[in-house]
Amino acid sequence: MALFYSNPFDAMLEFQRALDTLRDSAWLDFSPSGRGAFPPLNVFSKGDDIVVIAEAPGVHKADLRIEAKGNTIRISGVKSIERGARASVHRRERADGRFDRTVTLPVEVDADRVKAEYRDGILALYLPRAESAKPRTINIT
């Protein structure tokens, strides 16, 4: 079920519903390893490729580190919050600290062509499927 939006007003809700159905998915249950307050991530497919999107507000681009090898990607970094001199604190909900996580993907990715973007607190990784992992069509003779 790829997402194509005909009605821009329903687009957001349709998308949210599509994500909701996956919240119980056990796809990565045994594969991730890591520690710390990790930015939550969503995994999408786009054609043959995999797209990983994580919410990491307040993390500086320079503090993020991405590694890719075979079918695993490692995302690590540090989120630091500068808390200056304060007279009183009314609310403190933002979490900071180090995070490190390795995710195993169902397909091999081409590590040389991985693209990472960080904008407005969103980290997006474009992971092209390795040529060797692409399915071949077999002609029936």
Binding site: L3, P8, G34, S45, E55, R101
Partner: protein, 132 residues
């Protein structure tokens, strides 16, 4: 001896308001830090994916209302495989207890974090009373 490490992911809270929304989409509560000094009240909110132009900050009758919208068109053509959080707009409002100088409110957005500096009005600043 082995110990299992559990991964903690901050859960997003959906907005629960008395007023109903007319937009067909879910809104989430942004994680917020609020601190106060003698001069100003500072509100720091995490709104990942919200661009500056899609932010709306209002101050009316001591109620500070912040709304940020995310652009869903960026997700077009993507098929979800696995999900740990839902994507949504952000909205939150606060009732301010001290008088704010509305004209001097400053807002800045960086890496998906909105920082609002609300300077206190002159009459609301604390004064030290000398004991004679």
């Amino acid at each position: 001896m082995t110990s299992t490490q559990s991964l903690s992911v901050q859960e997003k809270k959906e907005v629960a308001t008395k007023a109903e929304k007319t937009a067909p989409a879910r809104f989430y509560t942004p994680a917020t830090d609020i601190f106060e000094t003698d001069e100003a009240l500072t509100v720091v909110m995490e709104m990942p994916g919200v661009e500056k132009k899609d932010l709306d900050v209002q101050l009316e009758d001591d109620v500070l209302r912040i709304e940020g919208r995310v652009d869903v068109s960026k997700y077009e053509g993507l098929e979800p495989l696995y999900s740990e959080y839902n994507v949504g707009h952000f909205a939150r409002s606060f009732v301010l207890s001290s008088k704010i100088d509305a004209k001097r409110i400053a807002a800045a957005v960086e890496d998906g974090v909105l920082t609002l500096t609300l300077p206190k009005a002159e009459e609301a600043r604390p004064r030290r009373i000398p004991i004679g």
